[in-house]
């Protein structure tokens, strides 16, 4: 048997669903739309019962994908029973949907949820009376407390064995004869749920009217009679009005409300959270705390306080996002101290002296190890860099150079939970890679390479940020479940409307600064498909944590003429500016849609439920792991193959310089030529790095290092560096993010998005490079062109604003 759960958003469907199905639950997508489809089974009734959690809806009108999905499911797939969850604290509006469900030929049980809240407030709902009026069983329950949930199933099981014919609360209306007329025709045609369909035809439902034009014709003349009533002959309005009138007239006596003068807790909380002046600052604080808990390595600001301003260099600011572990930071500090010492002591000769000192220490370590019968630690002593040495050896090097190890004590704060979990995850995946290396030791080089360098390191790149993704999700889920998210949309809507987005789009975009993957998955809460597409399209422009190392590297290279941290800041700013311009462009030249309505419920605040949160996280985790283990892995292995084999791949592995990827890079070099950063003989290395960045954006830096380009050896002009940075900022994000975009965009929207990313990266880099080039060579022309550009953007603003006014006026 199959039961469906239907009800308003926030009526407790998912809570009930989780309580009933437990571990059997599984989430997919409804075909063709990005609406979650939850399915599971219930086994306590002798027979296994499949349960489907329909999307939350207020009505069975055909205006949102959720409504269409729910309606088609009930009409076409004919569940054995529909369990209609009704929020007992809000009967009036919830019963509106019930009156529509009752019109379908399907057994219905009304589950009166949130009874705990009703009882606590001292109110009463008369379930027996309600059941008599509705003509279907009504069961009281509290999904949250697990009270009455099995009674609902038992009742549903009982009524599922019988057929039920739909009936309507509209029977007493004077236009009911129109409905009967159409209903009879539907019965003749042998259609399912004739009454429901008849009412839809009378209402003028687009989909059904297109399908049965003869029935529309049938009642056309009858409809004329109502042309001059209060609704101007609009039957949608007349039907909705009739339903609410019926509810108001009949259900008042099933509820006993104690009129309380004091305001509810929810009201009190809301007074603060959406306060006219404090709302926005409060929101900023909340988001800062969330980001801080996920990405900060210094939870209690110990570093900032003890070191004062000295610690807040550009790099430290970036570390907040990258979340390096203790060893990384110690290593960085140590290499910094050593390098500085040599520069101070030897000036121009510093590099040579340092190299010989490195050789000396490395050699000494090797010899000592050999003496103990162990394997040597450093193979290639001549090319050894400080960063490649073990910490203990660095300490020895410092002592050897006459320094003091005690001097090296970076003040490390207590890491945030996110950073802590991340380093733990890194530890696990690191061990996994070691294990892989051990297992594959005797394998042929290509096979062990495939396992260690391809599969395992690829997965490492993706899984290392999984803890932070999940944690970010947990916080978002808390904000969502508590009811705050709806308020955020309320607070921010005005600011976003000019961009063709609603306030709800703000959270995903903001999360983009952390990681695009959860950000894109969070667009699920947006109602309109095109708004979801647009938000996903803009998300990667909000520079994510993994891109920070690229900026850090380039900041060093660009410095000299201006400060590194200004460079980094300007990149973040550039992302936001281009996102805004993109939104305006898409709005100005895309199909102009009706501005999506913003008429929504602000649900009462709830304390978030641990069980629901965990179920939610578990869902996301499964989803992510599934993606990572299929598409993403395949893509990573492909890139591994391209970078380790030449065109004659049967002849075995080659260095990356001779790989297929390198030759692709050389082709790309010419495509990128107008963008400046691939000029010169080393240009192909930059184009290769843009490809490997698809695995994870940190890999841009890693690949360049492999090819011999570090922050110290970048030989690009500032204009070229800027163009390279903006290319990486706007181009395709990593595979994980592309996967997320694919999962949550519409089919067509996804391809446009890919093109948009590619086009945007090319065009913006082109503009930036040539603008910079002009500035570097012919300053005056550069300034004029820049001014023209700014003027164009302002015109764009004005143009879209005008167009919007026109749409609104119509």
């Amino acid at each position: 048997m199959k039961f469906a759960l239907a009800g308003n958003p926030n009526s407790g469907k998912t809570t009930l669903f989780n309580a009933l199905t437990g571990a059997t639950a599984h989430v997919g997508n409804w075909p063709g739309v990005t609406v979650d489809k939850r399915e599971g089974s219930y086994k306590k009734l002798g027979e296994k019962i499949d349960i489907v959690d329909l999307p939350g809806i207020y009505s069975l009108s055909p205006y949102t994908p959720e409504e269409i999905v729910a309606r088609n499911f009930i009409v076409d797939e004919k569940p054995d029973c529909v369990i209609n969850i009704v929020d007992a604290t809000n009967l009036e509006r919830n019963l509106y949907l019930t009156t529509q469900l009752l019109e379908m030929d399907v057994p219905v049980v009304v589950a009166l949820n949130m009874m705990d809240v009703v009882k606590k407030s001292g109110n009463e709902v008369n379930a027996t009376e309600l059941s008599k009026k509705l003509g279907v069983p009504v069961v009281e329950l509290s999904a949250l407390r697990n009270e009455g949930i099995h009674d609902v199933m038992k009742k549903a099981y009982e009524v599922a064995k019988e057929n039920r014919k739909g009936h309507s609360v509209l029977e007493t209306e004077d236009f009911y004869d129109l409905i009967t007329k159409v209903e009879e025709k539907f019965v003749e045609l042998g259609e399912s749920s004739p009454l429901f369909k008849a009412i839809k035809i009378v209402e003028g439902d687009e989909a059904l009217c297109a399908k049965y034009p003869q029935l529309v014709e049938l009642i056309k003349s009858d409809k004329e009679k109502y042309k001059d009533n209060d609704f101007g002959g609009d039957f949608e309005g007349m039907v909705a009005d009739a339903r609410y009138r019926y509810i108001t007239a009949n259900y008042a006596d099933t509820i006993k409300k104690i009129d309380k003068k004091t305001e509810s807790k929810s009201d009190k909380i809301d007074k603060v959270m959406t306060h006219r002046i404090f709302a926005i600052p409060l929101f900023i604080v909340i988001m800062f705390v969330v980001f801080h808990l996920v990405f900060s390595e210094d939870l209690f600001f110990i570093n900032g306080i003890s070191k004062g301003n000295a610690g807040i260099s550009g790099e430290t600011a970036i570390n907040v996002f990258t979340g390096m572990g203790y060893d990384d930071i110690y290593l960085e500090e140590m290499t910094g101290v050593i390098t500085e010492k040599y520069e101070e002591d030897f000036g121009d000769e510093a590099d040579d002296k340092l190299n010989s000192a490195i050789s000396y220490v490395a050699n000494k370590v090797n010899v000592e190890l050999q003496a103990k019968g162990e394997e040597i630690r450093y193979d290639d002593i001549d090319n050894l860099a400080l960063e490649d040495m073990e910490i203990e050896d660095l300490q020895e090097l410092l002592v050897y150079s006459g320094g003091d190890v005690e001097e090296v004590n970076p003040v490390i704060g207590i890491p945030s939970p996110g950073v802590f979990l991340q380093s733990w995850m890194g530890f696990v995946t690191g061990k996994l890679i070691d294990l892989g290396a051990m297992i594959s030791e005797t394998w042929p080089a290509w096979l062990s390479g495939l396992l260690c360098d391809g599969l395992l390191s690829g997965l490492d790149a993706i899984f290392s940020f999984l803890p932070q993704i999940l944690l970010l999700f947990l916080f978002i889920a808390i904000l969502e479940d508590s009811g705050y998210m709806a308020r955020v949309a309320f607070i921010m809507d005005r600011a976003f409307r000019g961009l063709g987005l609603s306030g709800k789009a703000f959270i995903p975009l903001l999360m983009g600064f952390g990681c695009s993957v959860p950000a894109m998955m969070a667009t699920k809460t947006l109602e309109e498909e095109h708004e979801r597409d647009m938000t996903i399209r803009l998300t990667p422009f909000f520079s994510c944590g993994a891109k920070a190392p690229i900026w850090a590297m380039l900041a060093v290279a660009v410095a000299g003429s201006f400060l590194g941290d200004i460079f980094v800041f300007s990149i973040y700013l550039l992302g936001i500016v281009v996102a805004i311009i993109s939104a305006l462009l898409i709005k100005a030249f895309g199909k102009v849609k009706e501005v999506p309505p913003f008429i929504m419920e602000l649900p009462a605040y709830h304390a978030p439920q641990f069980k629901n949160l965990m179920a939610h996280l578990w869902e996301k985790l499964k989803h992510f792991v599934y993606k990572a283990s299929t598409i993403i892995t395949a893509a990573i292995v492909l890139i591994w193959f391209l970078s380790n084999f030449g065109w004659a791949f049967w002849q075995g592995m080659v260095g990356i310089e001779d790989s297929i990827l390198a030759s692709l890079g050389r082709v790309l070099q010419y495509i990128y030529y107008p963008l400046g950063f691939t000029w010169g003989s080393e240009g192909w290395k930059y184009s290769v790095a843009t490809i490997t960045g698809l695995i994870a954006k940190e890999d841009v830096v890693a690949t360049m290092a492999t090819l011999g380009i570090t922050e110290k050896t970048i030989a690009l002009s500032n204009a070229q560096i800027y163009a390279f940075a903006s290319y990486n900022l706007f181009t395709l994000p990593c595979f994980a993010a592309i996967g997320a975009a694919y999962g949550d965009s519409s089919k067509k929207g996804f391809w446009i998005t890919l093109l948009w990313w590619l086009g945007c990266s090319y065009v913006v880099s082109l503009i930036i490079f040539w603008l910079g080039y002009l500035f570097e060579h012919v300053l005056v022309v550069g300034i004029i062109v820049a001014l023209l550009l700014v003027a164009t953007i302002i015109l764009l603003f004005v143009y879209t604003a005008k167009k919007r006014k026109k749409v609104l006026a119509n």
């Binding site: 009505s59 205006y63 809000n90 959406t274 309505p597």
Partner: protein, 76 residues
């Protein structure tokens, strides 16, 4: 006295008389219970002055001023 919902101040009460919107917005307003005869109290404005929050049929509803403009009210 008749007034549109977007002209209400915080704390003002009224009864819905008529909806003058079209299509999507009209249907959405009806579905959320904004039908003739419904009581509405304006609760607050968002920080930037728009959208507004109202109490209707015992729950909190938010809508933009442009949408509230379509709701003709009888002031109480």
């Amino acid at each position: 006295m008749e007034k549109r919902l977007n002209e209400f101040n915080v704390g003002e009460k009224g009864i819905v008389r008529k909806i003058v919107a079209e299509g999507n917005i009209r249907r959405r307003l009806f579905d959320m219970g904004v039908t003739p005869g419904a009581n509405i109290i304006v609760k607050k404005f968002a920080s930037l002055g728009d959208p507004i929050e109202v109490t209707i049929r015992g729950y909190e509803l938010t809508l933009r001023k442009s949408e509230a403009e379509c709701v003709l009210m009888e002031v109480e």
